[in-house]
């Protein structure tokens, strides 16, 4: 009797829990792993931390899959709500902004080691500039270039208009350009 009662209460939820099962999850994560990881990397500036945050994000997404409503938002929008919250929490725990450098990025299309080194230094400097941006600016750059989102999707994720996102990114690019060119 009690079990019937409990079943009647939870059956709806159980059906919902079953909506994203392991197979779906695997295919979803494969599609978004690169975006989530690079978003985290742009935000925290440390590869190991970014990997931990990415794994934790997918773990939380899996645990919270019953709360995902496909009719309300795209999976990526929902997923990035979790990821952004995790990054914010991480900053709170650290009580600092990143100051350590990433592994030096090395572009693969330069002909000589000297040119590669020079280009790597320029990229490292750009990465430092990104890490010194204000939080909301860094967020937009991470979503745009780390997660590879369109302005429309970014607008959905952060709850702003597409035109506001476009304007903001334009301003940040100008800021980055000015700071980068000073080198």
């Amino acid at each position: 009797m009690l079990n019937d009662f409990i079943d009647s209460i939870t059956s709806k939820s159980l059906r919902q829990w079953a909506t994203i099962e392991a197979e779906d999850f695997s295919s979803l994560y494969r599609r978004h792993l690169d975006a989530v990881f690079n978003y985290c990397l742009f935000r925290v500036g440390d590869r190991a931390v970014a990997e931990d945050l990415t794994a934790e994000a997918f773990e939380r997404a899996w645990r919270a899959r019953d709360r995902y409503r496909p009719e309300r938002a795209a999976f990526s929008t929902w997923l990035f709500t979790i990821v952004r919250r995790l990054v914010i929490d991480w900053y709170r725990r650290q009580d600092r902004h990143p100051t350590t450098a990433l592994d030096t990025p090395v572009p693969d299309d330069n002909p000589t080691p000297e040119a590669q080194l020079e280009e790597a230094e320029r990229l490292a400097h750009l990465r430092d500039i990104v890490l010194q941006l204000q939080e909301h600016e860094q967020e937009l750059i991470a979503l745009k270039f780390g997660a590879g989102m369109t302005n429309r999707r970014i607008a959905e994720v952060i709850g702003k208009s597409e035109s506001a996102v476009g304007t903001a990114i334009y301003r940040i690019m100008k800021k980055l350009r000015a700071a980068w060119k000073d080198t």
């Binding site: 409990i6 392991a22 994560y29 792993l33 990997e51 990229l123």
Partner: protein
């Protein structure tokens, strides 16, 4: 290694930028890295374990049953051990019941009756769209006429357990004014909110499209997804706000009916024309050009945007000008200045611009500490821009607010 899909979206991103920006964009894309094999394996493992999957569902059911049973047993044991506790619990339930039936009685169809009656004709909806239920019915009395002191919410009842909704401020009502707020919501988070107060002799309807409600002049305007209808009927100023379609909102407006009239007993004879509270000591209203004057140039007007950290009415915008066609002369130059990354924004020391909050303790008006603000003074050939609080970081919000205002001002 880039996949074909990666190459496609990265190309699309690069096409959004040109010149030097494209070079920066290209470099930003070079900062991306591939997730390691270890990370892929870690994420793979999350959903791979079927036992863990089943355990999640089973575990939730078990925990639900276990905690429920523990709670019931504890309550029964406490009641058995302490008979006085059972009596106290029964009394608390009775008191709560009395409290809910106290100052505001709920009648048929969720209609509220306020006791004592507000000093204006109370109107309530005779029609609500299907699925809407009352969630907040709140009454704020006017200042005590004997002492002139404000009376902090003499009556406030929540029909909702959502304390956030119940604590929403009543917008567009001056401090110390007797007013009531009725709010209705449906399961889809749509709302219909009504604010009423005694109409003042100098009341003017806010700007918006003109129409008639129950034969009275009214205006309707839209802020984001919210529509606002304002009119004066039977001496009551009524503002009806809703996130429902316009025809539904107007149907609610047309079917508002009188549910209560002021009592003749004098217990609530708060003055209709209560003198506004004074500014607190040391508070000086800002006058003149706070960002300085520009020699040899004609002053066109100013725009102030206060930004709040709240969900309801998160921004206020005010602007003023003496010149004709203020939209072109003031609003549009202000927007261009705000959008221009080269514009210098000067920090200002004020907690807000032209926004005050009534301090019940001090009995006077204090400047409101807003999340941030942006103020623009528009001159013939330049726009001076200042900000306070987090105003500089909230420029995009300010731009959106100003864009909406310009749209509203379109002829």
């Amino acid at each position: 290694m880039r996949t074909q899909r990666d190459a496609q979206w990265q190309t699309e991103i690069l096409q959004e930028f040109d010149g030097v920006d494209a070079e920066v964009a290209q470099a930003l894309l070079h900062l991306r890295q591939a997730p390691s094999q270890t990370l892929q394996q870690r994420v793979d493992a999350i959903a791979e374990n079927p036992r863990r999957r089943q355990a999640t569902v089973r575990g939730r059911r078990r925990r639900f049953v276990a905690w429920g049973a523990v709670a019931v047993v504890i309550v029964l044991l406490l009641f058995a051990a302490f008979p006085g506790l059972r009596t106290a619990a029964a009394q608390t339930v009775d008191e709560l019941r009395q409290l809910l039936g106290g100052g505001i009685h709920l009648g048929a169809e969720g209609t509220a009756k306020f006791e004592p009656a507000p000093p204006f004709v109370v109107k309530q909806p005779g029609y609500l769209p299907e699925g809407f239920d009352p969630v907040v019915q709140r009454y704020q009395a006017a200042p005590d006429p004997a002492s002139g002191r404000a009376v902090p919410q003499l009556e406030q009842r929540r029909v909702t357990t959502d304390t956030h909704a119940a604590d929403w401020p009543t917008p567009n009502v001056a401090p110390g004014t007797a007013h009531l707020l009725l709010r209705y919501e449906n399961a889809r988070d749509q709302h219909i909110t009504i604010v009423e107060r005694a109409a003042q002799p100098d009341d003017a309807l806010p700007a918006g499209r003109s129409l008639a409600v129950n034969g009275q002049p009214a205006t309707i305007r839209q802020v984001n997804e919210t529509r606002i209808v304002t009119w004066i009927e039977d001496g009551t100023w009524i503002e009806l706000t809703g996130t429902v379609p316009e025809d539904e909102l107007l149907r609610v407006a047309e079917r508002m009916r009188t549910t209560q009239r002021p009592t003749s007993s004098g217990t609530m004879d708060a003055p209709y024309d209560a003198t506004p509270p004074p500014l607190c000591e040391g508070v000086r209203p800002l006058r003149g050009h706070i960002l300085g004057t520009v020699e040899g140039q004609e002053y066109k007007g100013s725009v102030t945007i206060n930004l709040f950290d709240r969900e309801v009415f998160p921004e206020t915008i005010s602007w003023g000008t003496d010149v004709e066609n203020g939209r072109e002369a003031v609003l549009e130059p202000a927007l261009r200045a705000l959008q221009d990354p080269e514009t210098t924004m000067r920090p200002l020391p004020y907690p807000s611009i032209g926004h005050f909050t009534y301090s019940e303790e001090a009995g006077c008006l204090q400047p409101t500490e807003v999340h941030g603000y942006v103020v623009m003074e528009v001159w013939e050939g330049q726009v001076n821009v200042g900000y306070g609080g987090a105003g500089a970081e909230l420029t995009e919000r300010a731009i959106e607010t100003l864009e909406r205002r310009i749209q509203q001002e379109q002829p």
